[in-house]
């Protein structure tokens, strides 16, 4: 007995060895509604904007949204399997004529119309300073880099378009207002987050795109055919999906969401819709077909690598490499290691599928011939069990599971980023931590200390900054209106008046500041680079702040304060940590 949905789902994974489909919404069974579909579609159909530019990364769902608009809203018949690149279409909806254009940048120069010509052709209503009434309402999906390059290269032909759109394409703080005044909407989907509860101007909204994808994928109906399968009792895919389903009552989906939110707070990689779906499919649905699983039978060694906790960190590509950097199995936790050693995790629930597999493999260790193979299997089991504990420890044992979470500062960061708490407390901690990392903590109220020397040196000089001149803010770009789910990826520490002095605090920076080390000893920690980032911040402080006083710290922790007063100066000794 096979489940046809397994192969359908597997085609949604971009790294699938059997080939893949471009978009989840090409499979109408798996359609996931986002704010784009919910709030923007009607505005477009009401002809509110004469030009809509949807930009974002590959996999954000730009083209998919337009195709969905055409097929589901405008009633256009469209063969979704055809190559959508560079496709232009005219659709009459009511008495309004719409024109759509997908991915102009991906066409080839050699084709009838290269990327440049396609855009010139479709933007002829927007040349010069005076625009005629538009012949039709246009909806483009286009990458930001291409759009920006096109506007820069052709600024002479499109001076006004260049002027109004460029602010909306700014990297960090895009301003959509000039474009909106002209009836042009720029939707940058890289400002959409697929994980974490969604921050809206009126507060937090429960649930997020990730949650909806999980609900859709674990829908009971999709997995009904599995109930009659001969492999039901040992099928790892069946087990994975049941454990992921929110209805199972297990915390797997929540913990994975937390891990992915931490990933988001590193802000090193923008998670697209396709990334999330691929990761979930790769990990939970795996690459194995139903036939293969049935054929292999209950072979523990084959089954073990197919459990989601082992596959989560193996996705090919950059996303996979970065996920692997957060592998909880690399977290040091002596308490949990002891539990693993005693076998408590396996013995407590012997009927549980992964436990049976683990037990079987443990028993089989004595039959393995070479010591190297024994060591490898033991290692495999140890990391797998550790990951399983993290994802499956019951909610009552949340504290224990969190011992394995890579970031100790996650909750602090999360509360501020989601505006559940004001940044005041965290701000104080950060300012204190700067002094601590720098190696000089003095009981001077509202002051923090920094040095451009290395704090390992025997003698170092420090300057003091006034913490009251600084603030910690949650950056919310002007562009985030109703069309995107948004969660900030970093916090901004900056001088209240002089905004040049700023430090982008992502989760890694916060972890380094507050703890000085990372919990993942086997993974790259980027500490030298983070130190360099702090140094840049300190150089800005040194350049921009007025520094009439400095402190000398000797190797025996003696501290003297040297201050300037008129034509003379003064030196006073301060004992540290009084």
């Amino acid at each position: 007995m096979t489940n046809p949905n397994v192969s359908k789902l597997q085609r949604l994974n971009y790294s699938s060895p059997r080939g893949n489909d471009k978009s989840i919404n090409h499979q109408i069974d798996f359609f996931v509604e986002t704010y784009l579909h919910k709030y923007l579609a009607d505005e477009i159909l009401d002809a509110k904007y004469k030009l809509v530019l949807i930009t974002g990364c590959s996999g954000d769902g730009k083209t998919e949204f337009i195709q969905w608009l055409e097929t589901e809203k405008m009633g256009e018949e469209l063969d979704l399997s055809e190559k959508p690149i560079g496709r232009v279409d005219w659709i009459e909806y009511g008495d309004i004529l719409f024109s759509t254009l997908y991915d102009a940048e991906m066409t080839f120069e050699e084709e009838e119309q290269g990327p440049e010509e396609l855009l010139h052709d479709n933007l002829d209503d927007f040349t010069g300073e005076d625009w005629p009434e538009p012949q039709c309402f246009r909806i483009f999906s286009i990458t930001r880099d291409h759009l920006r390059q096109f506007l820069q290269d052709n600024a002479e032909d499109y001076p006004k378009l260049n002027r109004v759109i460029m602010p909306a394409l700014h990297d960090m703080d895009p301003d959509p207002r000039p474009a909106l005044k002209e009836g042009i909407l720029v939707v940058d989907l890289t400002f959409r987050s697929v994980v974490g509860d969604i921050l809206r101007e009126d507060g937090l909204e429960e649930g997020c795109v990730y949650t909806r994808v999980v609900e859709k994928m674990t829908d009971k109906m999709l997995w009904k055919p599995c109930e009659k399968c001969e492999a039901y009792s040992f099928c790892p895919v069946r087990y994975n999906m049941e454990t992921l389903a929110p209805r199972s009552g297990k915390p797997v989906a929540e913990r994975l969401l937390k891990l992915l939110t931490a990933f988001h707070y590193r802000r090193i990689f923008h998670l697209t819709l396709r990334d999330i779906i691929s990761l979930l499919v790769h990990s939970f649905v795996t690459d194995s077909s139903c036939e293969e699983i049935i054929e292999e039978g209950a072979n523990s060694e084959k089954l073990f690598p197919l459990f989601y906790f082992n596959r989560l960190f193996t996705l090919p590509g950059t996303l996979g490499i970065l996920m692997d950097e957060l592998d909880i199995a690399a977290v040091n936790s002596p308490g949990l290691d002891e539990r693993l050693y005693s076998g408590e995790d396996v013995d407590n629930d012997p009927e549980h599928l992964p436990n049976m597999v683990i037990k079987d493999m443990l028993d089989g260790l004595e039959y393995i011939e070479t010591p190297l193979a024994v060591r490898q299997t033991k290692r495999l089991l140890r990391v797998g069990r550790k990951r399983k504990l993290f994802f499956e420890y019951s909610r009552e044992d949340e504290g224990l599971a969190m011992e394995l979470f890579p970031y100790r500062t996650f909750d602090l960061f999360d509360a501020v980023a989601k505006k559940r708490e004001s940044p005041g407390k965290l701000f104080e901690m950060i300012m204190k931590a700067i002094s601590k990392r720098e190696g000089l903590e003095l009981n001077e109220k509202d002051r923090f200390f920094f040095t451009l020397d290395s704090n390992f040196e025997n003698i170092a000089t420090y300057y003091a900054g006034d913490a009251r001149d600084f603030e910690l803010i949650v950056p919310i770009p002007k562009t985030v209106s109703g069309h995107r789910e948004y969660l900030p990826g970093y916090l901004l520490l900056r001088h209240r008046k002089d905004h040049i002095i700023d430090l982008r605090v992502n989760l890694d920076v916060l972890e380094y500041l507050l703890h000085g080390t990372f919990r993942l000893p086997e993974k790259p920690d980027y500490i030298p680079e983070l130190r360099h980032r702090l140094r840049i911040f300190k150089e800005k402080l040194e350049t921009e702040l007025d520094l009439p006083t400095f402190y000398i710290r000797s190797e025996n922790k003696q501290v003297a304060k040297v201050s300037r007063s008129g034509l003379t100066g003064r030196i006073d000794f301060i004992t540290e940590n009084e």
């Binding site: 880099d145 090193i268 003698i459 000089t461 680079e529 100066g569």
Partner: protein, 509 residues
Amino acid sequence: MRSELKRYYDVSYEGFRLPGFKTMSLYKVLARLVQLFHEGTPVYRLKAVEPDKMVEILLAELQHDENAKEKARVLLRKWLGKRLLLEREDQDMGPNPIHYKTASMLDAATFDDEGTSVLFYRILSSDRYLRRAFHRYFSPRKDDNAEEELLVRLATRLPLEVDENPKPDASGEASICPAFERLVIDDFKRVFAYADSVSRGTFVGLLENLVGLHLATYEMLVTNIVNNFVKRSFYCPEKCPVAEDAGDLKGCHCVDGVFASADRTLESVCQVAVRSFVSKIEKYRNYQYNLAYLRKLEQFNADGREYLKEQEFKLEPTPQELLELREHPDLRSWFEAEAMILSEEETNGRRISFSMLDEAKIDAGVRHLSKVLSVLAPKKDSEYLHRLERLLGYGDGFGLLSSFRGSFMYYLSDAFLGFTIMLATVEKNKSGRYDHSVNMSLGDFCNFLRQRYGVNVGGRYKGGNPSQDILEENIAILHRRLFYMGYVLDPLNRPINPTIRPNIVIKKD
């Protein structure tokens, strides 16, 4: 023979040692430069004063509690050692040239950097703007921070004496490469754009890095210029292919392509780096050999003038004329005779120069290196690494290349990246002065490194060798590092060619 080329092979009897680099403090070179560019007459310099005496003067300047006097004395002595005298690990590297007064603690008469400061002095004084900028920047200013102000104040309290050391002739020949000189001038102009935007300490650090970087670049150039000359009789300073108005070395075939891995783990990229390193060592060996060969030809010329009196032997031969002596029928027998003399205990200088031509007598260190490198295997032996680095003058965190965490590979240090980003992100205004910051793409930054300093991080470029595409991955890793260092703000998968933002932004007027 051009005096500069002659000078380089003269000093090479001690083994290859580029003036200044790794043999002395760059701070001292800078201090000398500051002295040279100061335009006051008569020229004063600070008398040599014992550090303890300086502390006395400082204590008289600062109010303090009487009972803390001894403690203050001890602490200030250490502070002065570090900040003004730049004492590091019991070695005196100073003085700290944050001001012409502090720089004038350097006694030019006892200072010998084998011409490094004069090299830079001559190059830079050909540009009026830089001459003025040097003088102006290191003269008194008001906006110092408390620490720098105190150091300068101390320097003004120290006793003076007239400096009678003659200034070198600024108009003399500087280097053997005209394109290099233009590059140096362009880079100093770029750094001076930051003069008002960073503190003195940071600025002096920038200048120090710049001098170090150019010494490394020059080393690569000189090695290749000499090798090309002996091998192909092609003296490139006279046929320089670099455009007259270029501020980089684009088109120069003497820039040694230094492949650099920006990664800590990528084995394949590392292998490219290793191969590149091997070819550098080979070039270095050839360079030593060629220098010795030129020197021997000069001796042959002198002997020929004395004994053979033929017209091929000139009084002051040009490099080309020296090379032509290779065809002389008596050269072979002369070499044989020289070898005989050598075995009969000749002077040390002749012996060393001659032995360079003999494979068996090649310097033990170099022989060892070429043997190990022929296996192409990454070695983890720290002493071996240390030797390689010392040989090429790299290491210490700053440099073109450095080892990283004990594994053998090239690695662009954070300081190098930060510094070159500062250089790369300033732009000229309409009047041709560098005066404001711009954002630049990662691709342009990599081009900047390649065209100016021969550092090839990777990526395909016009005219580049397709085999270098294997460094493609390097760019992604460099991108990730720059992201963490705070120079790139976009997430990794967003832009195709990410934008680098300068750390210090100089606003357009």
